[in-house]
């Protein structure tokens, strides 16, 4: 009896100690993670300028859906940036991953480490270097293009919508492709040698092996990559903030940057906490919706993998 008692006591002690070990973070979860979410969901229904908050029902939502072209423009830009860069990034990462895992490359590590470098130097420095590279007056990129004659006069890269979006995408690809290389490499090395060998014994040629074995086995990896790229792409705004800050005239704004501007009164936009929260809610649902649609569409990929 005494033994079970002390056992129970020891168990209780462990329990208390465990709670203490995660206590601060548990508190942090409620205070710094859950509370802001609830806050946003509450003030989405208020007209709130920082001092007085008045309940306004769905008025903010009506405004967002009917009168706020800038918001939808920024949503569109977000999609353009998130998906546009994938067109280059995914094949590039795939080819590099295949090359690195082909067993023909000796200094695999050197390449991997080198390709990862842009990720390590931080967004502030990277964006500064890119701003300089794509400068209009005597910018290095303009100089190269002028030199080889593709353009006849300097381009104001960050001064027009599409070129600015291109710069944003280039920077983002430059800094981020290596992650996808890593994902693909993990995927390729997960394709078991036995499968490939077995197929070869059965008389499959390299084309068949690639299409019937390697690619289907990479489907789940591709799915994960696309999924992450989508969800993360929707949340990107720091690089846009640093490169163009939405300029010219909000034409390169992305959704999260637009929200940020509404919250933090940048560029003369008056802070509208209530309305910004509404847009936050809508954006969350857009991201969730896109993700769900995507998951639905790629159900097949899962079954193969």
């Amino acid at each position: 009896m005494a033994k079970t008692g002390s056992l129970r006591q020891a168990k209780l002690k462990i329990e208390i100690q465990s709670y203490l070990m995660i206590g601060l973070q548990l508190l942090g979860f409620f205070v710094f993670s859950l509370y802001p979410i609830l806050w946003v969901f509450r003030y989405g229904f208020y007209d709130y300028d920082g001092v007085t908050a008045t309940w306004c029902g769905f008025e903010n939502f009506v405004r967002a859906f009917t009168r706020d072209a800038l918001y939808w423009k920024s949503v569109l830009n977000t999609f353009i940036i998130a998906y546009g860069k994938l067109i280059v990034e995914i094949p590039l990462a795939f080819l590099i991953a295949l090359a690195l895992t082909s067993g023909l490359v000796k200094f695999k590590r050197v390449f991997m480490v080198g390709y990862y470098l842009p990720k390590m130097t931080g967004i502030a420095v990277n964006c500064l270097i890119f701003t300089y590279m794509f400068a209009t007056v005597n910018g290095p990129i303009n100089n190269i293009l002028l030199d080889i004659g593709i353009i006849s006069e300097p381009i104001a890269w960050l001064g027009a919508k599409w070129t600015a979006l291109a710069v944003i995408m280039i920077r983002s690809t430059w800094a981020g492709f290596s992650t996808n290389v890593l994902y693909f490499m993990a995927g390729v090395s997960n394709v078991s040698e036995d499968c490939v060998e077995a197929a070869k014994v059965d008389g499959a040629n390299s084309k068949q092996v690639f299409f019937k074995i390697t690619l289907p086995m990479l489907a789940p990896v591709l799915k994960t990559i696309l999924m992450l790229a989508m969800v993360n792409g929707m949340k990107v705004y720091q690089d846009v903030m640093l490169l163009t800050n939405g300029a010219p005239g909000g034409s390169t704004n992305v959704v999260m940057l637009y929200l940020y501007q509404l919250y933090f009164e940048t560029d003369g936009i008056k802070a509208q906490y209530g309305y910004a929260s509404t847009l936050g809610i809508i954006t969350t649902f857009i991201i969730g919706g896109v993700t769900l649609i995507y998951l639905r569409l790629t159900k097949n990929a899962d079954e193969v993998g």
């Binding site: 070990m21 973070q25 480490v113 030199d147």
Partner: protein, 380 residues
């Protein structure tokens, strides 16, 4: 010949050629991937690219105006032609002539190395631009088209360090990084241990709660309420506030790494220690933590990377407090300040001051970086 040269001068036509060539080249590569397998497909792409560059230079050699526009438009055109010829060439040595020098792994291996190195140069190019520009004079930045500086001006760094306040910024970044590392490593190892070995009510529920953070975030909308909260606790005026907030942060990815690592350690270790009279906390500090050393190294390096480059939150809390800004924020402030707008040489010097320690750390400890990142990647 004259006809071709006139043709070369009309840019829209050449653009058409370039696009056609590009499409043809990529199409051919795709075909090769399908027909001859991935390795040959990729290496063939690189063959084309290299062949084109050589071809472009040959064309330029015969052109009237040297180094003119034709070179690069020609590149695209040649892309197609070369691809066409190479198809026969590659097909042949893949299937028929097995002992050809150009066949076999050696050739592809060399091609792959060349191509990957070329791409490495592309990846490094922005850093090289930054590095070289940081040694230029202001006049050179504005008018010189050369990538290399005429004379290597080290004074830019001295100016940045003393006049542009980079000494202070660096100091701030260093201590911010140091404390962030300490706190992150402490909390994520302790949390990971609690979730791996602890037994308490609601363990799995809490774990799910914590994990859900990875999926449910509102992006920038949660910044403002969080900021209001920090204001309430007077944490919103310096980097110290962020450091203190760090105690309450859940580093879910790091925690996962630690938890996974501890789960692999044999439970007998704990049991033996318990018999010897070690408590739950004691086991962590005496048994688990020493075994966690490699994991701690990874965490330190990863957190170093994050904290050193951290931009958004430091920017928010040090707004209007230039003395307390870290490098990333200070750099940006310099760029948007009136006098900084024209002094890219100082900004680039500052960028290098900010980036070089990170790069050096990364190159030395890349083993841990890649390990941590790979672990994250595999987990998804």
């Amino acid at each position: 010949m004259k006809f071709i040269l006139t043709l070369l001068k009309t840019i829209p036509t050449m653009l058409l050629f370039a696009v056609t060539g590009l499409v043809a080249g990529l199409g051919w590569t795709l075909y090769n991937v399908i027909a001859n397998g991935a390795e040959i497909g990729i290496s063939s792409l690189f063959v084309i690219v290299i062949g084109n560059v050589i071809g472009a230079y040959v064309v330029d050699f015969f052109a009237e105006k040297k180094g003119g526009s034709k070179k690069w438009f020609m590149l695209g055109f040649l892309f197609g032609i070369f691809a066409f010829i190479a198809t026969f060439f590659m097909k042949k040595n893949d299937n028929v002539v097995k002992r050809n020098v150009f066949n076999g792994k050696r050739f592809f291996s060399i091609i792959l190395h060349i191509a990957l190195s070329a791409f490495l140069v592309v990846v490094f190019y922005p850093f090289l631009v930054g590095l070289f520009s940081s040694f230029k004079t202001q006049r050179e930045i504005l008018i010189s088209p050369n990538i290399l500086p005429e004379t290597w001006q080290v004074t830019n760094y001295i100016t940045a360090w003393t006049e542009a306040n980079f000494a202070q910024y660096t100091f701030n970044t260093v201590w911010y990084t140091f404390f962030t590392i300490c706190i992150t490593v402490l909390t994520s190892t302790v949390n990971g241990y609690a979730f791996a070995r602890g037994e308490f009510r609601g363990k799995s529920a809490i774990f799910v709660l914590f994990t859900s953070l990875m999926f449910v975030t509102l992006g920038s909308s949660s910044l403002y309420p969080t900021m209001q909260l920090m204001k309430m606790f007077h944490l919103n005026t310096s980097l110290w506030g962020l450091i203190i907030k760090g105690f309450f942060a859940i580093h879910i990815a790091d925690m996962y790494l630690v938890r996974g690592f501890i789960n692999q350690l044999p439970k007998e270790l704990d049991e033996a220690a318990t018999i010897d009279g070690c408590g739950f906390v004691g086991i962590f500090f005496r048994i688990i933590l020493p075994l966690l050393k490699p994991m701690v190294a990874t965490l330190v390096i990863l957190t170093f990377g994050h904290a050193w480059n951290d931009y958004l939150w430091p920017m928010i809390v040090t707004m209007g407090n230039p003395e307390g800004q870290p490098l990333s924020v200070g750099l940006r402030a310099l760029q948007s300040s009136g006098e900084g707008a024209a002094s890219w040489h100082i900004i680039m010097a500052g960028s290098m001051i900010s980036a070089l320690p990170m790069m050096i750390m990364y190159l030395i400890f890349n083993k841990y970086f890649v390990k941590g990142l790979a672990a994250g990647a595999v987990k998804g």
